[in-house]
Subunit: 341 residues, 2 copies
């Protein structure tokens, strides 16, 4: 394990000044130093395994080789997995990743953007919060490279990598209908983010295309700030009224986990009394008594595309914006039917 090699060490080895070494290593052919000496310096640097001081190099190149990653919560498995793949891709391209969690709050998101811009990250990968359109416009005005992931704003032209949320939700609800369910509820978040609106639209569309009426009391939109209580209230209204629904589509896996815990407390059996489809899998479902049907998002492709687009934009600020919309897969298992029908 060697001590960190400095320009001075190289200079000593070759028998030249530190300034000469610095010129050769930073300016290359334009250093003004003779080819013979340049070669000796580069050879010595290689032998000693010299690694340039990244900070100084950053100032020179105008790049820090750092990406700022802003997600709702790094401890949420969906984002933790995406973060891991982003880390692997970024490392491959010599970038480090600084992360921050917005908790779905636009003021926290803005603090993070400023904080990380100050650290001169070369660009951002962001899962934007509700009401953060101005922040995205700011990044555009400042020509700071960024890619939106998981959600985007249709009215703002930007790089983004998302899945087709409408199609995924449509497939899920259509499956519930195919297996004999007609009274179907949906539990989603109440925010205005496009991906959530598209999941609700997919639900409504699948119902409509199967000439099924959507009753108002079947559509439940939960506040992110109090998920447990919101889900409980939604389940009460969906299942404990005079005409309970036959199936529920949960628009995220966090909503599904809360929902299923409460359904268990009510002693209702999924796959028998009630059918379920959820968005996203989750470790929590590994041991659920009724194998859950869920929409599987292509996390690797989402993350890899995001890093590729961002690093391209960082290298070429004039690069054309890229929009990637991937398909999610519906994993069909026992929970999407009811045996007691």
């Amino acid at each position: 394990m060697k001590k960190k090699v400095s320009l001075k060490d190289i200079a000593k080895k070759v028998g030249v000044s530190t300034a000469t070494v610095s010129y050769v290593l930073s300016k290359g052919k334009e250093s003004g130093v003779s080819a013979e000496v340049s070669e000796k310096v580069k050879k010595a640097a290689k032998e000693l395994k010299y690694q340039p001081n990244q900070i100084a190099k950053s100032l020179k190149m105008g790049k820090t080789f750092t990406i700022g990653l802003i997600v709702a919560d790094i401890s949420n498995p969906f984002f933790a997995h995406i973060a891991r793949i982003i880390e692997d891709e970024a490392t491959r391209l010599n970038y480090t990743v600084i992360f921050g969690s917005s908790d779905e709050k636009s003021d926290k998101s803005w603090d993070l953007i400023q904080f990380l811009t100050n650290r001169q990250v070369d660009g951002f990968i962001i899962a934007p919060t509700e009401n953060s359109e101005k922040q995205i416009k700011y990044l555009k005005e400042q020509h700071i490279p960024f890619v939106l992931i998981d959600r985007y704003f249709p009215e703002i032209s930007s790089n983004y990598v998302v899945i087709d949320n409408f199609k995924a939700a449509y497939k899920a609800v259509n499956r519930l209908i195919e297996t004999g369910n007609q009274q179907i509820g949906i539990v989603a978040y109440s925010n205005s983010l496009y991906h959530m609106r598209e999941r609700v639209r997919g639900y409504k569309s699948a119902m409509g295309d199967n000439t099924l009426e959507v009753k108002n009391e079947w559509l439940h939109e939960i506040d992110f700030s109090d998920i447990k209580l919101g889900v409980k209230k939604a389940i009460d209204e969906l299942l404990l009224e005079k005409k309970p629904v036959e199936a529920i589509f949960f628009a995220t896996n966090t909503l599904a986990v809360h929902g299923l815990k409460y359904i268990d407390e009510l002693n209702l059996k999924v796959g028998e009394d009630l059918a379920i489809v959820s968005f996203d899998e989750g470790e929590a479902f590994d041991f659920y008594y009724c194998p859950l049907s869920y929409i599987k998002q292509p996390l690797s492709e989402l993350a890899e595309n995001a890093v590729a687009i961002l690093t391209k934009q960082i290298s070429d600020h004039e690069a054309k914006e890229e929009q990637v919309c991937l398909e999610a897969e519906l994993v069909i298992r026992e929970s999407c039917q009811r045996s007691n029908s």
Copy 2:
């Protein structure tokens, strides 16, 4: 949303040179600039909400206000949760966090340490891999501040924040014995890391103190590189031999998740045919049919202590080393007994 304020903007507002502004903001009282002008500059900076360029400031202060966090895998829930709390604490103290995943490989860990040292992180929080003692010694020799978290090397004097693994494992196995089990197996990792050795020691000690013999075939140490197969083999030997064990202690929750999935395939019932205690909880257990008994680690305290010790060391390189050893709690639920006994 304002455009980023520069020194030039402040200079223009006050009617002085950019150099004057720079001196006032970076050197304070020792700037050589008159008190009256200094006040005007500071007032203008505040009004315009000026935020210094962190990179330039870093070079000046010799600090980047960045922490390097190296864990086994950022997508592992244990580490994702710790990362989140570290992020929150670091942000409170004006630090950003760059993360990297070692996958429990010492060569990857070394690459990350070099990579992040090059980015001049002010210090590290590291969950060290097996065989990375030389890397830790290197950080010490280079006077690079660091704190070890979750595991440490007893033969190397360093900052660390860990739990009392021996005591936690002892409590868990003792509980299994108290509920009437005598033939108890353990499934751990085969690495030499101290925390894992201590968990095995706690198991052996609890058995010994209850005058119970530990048979060789009850001690299973799995290779991290092939957990699924290793756990399957262990369970086969523990449960499908002539004399199956009555209880199993899983030394990590990853081992428990694999173990329980396979036990389900064998149609054995936890809490009836077999008792179980696991290290750490996991979302995976939320819906397990038999509420799992497990050792609950104080994640918040681990993470908060780590950040506090590291930032103290960063501010004062001569600060005394700190070693924190916290207690974990045994959460007792139905899985630690057998009804068919």
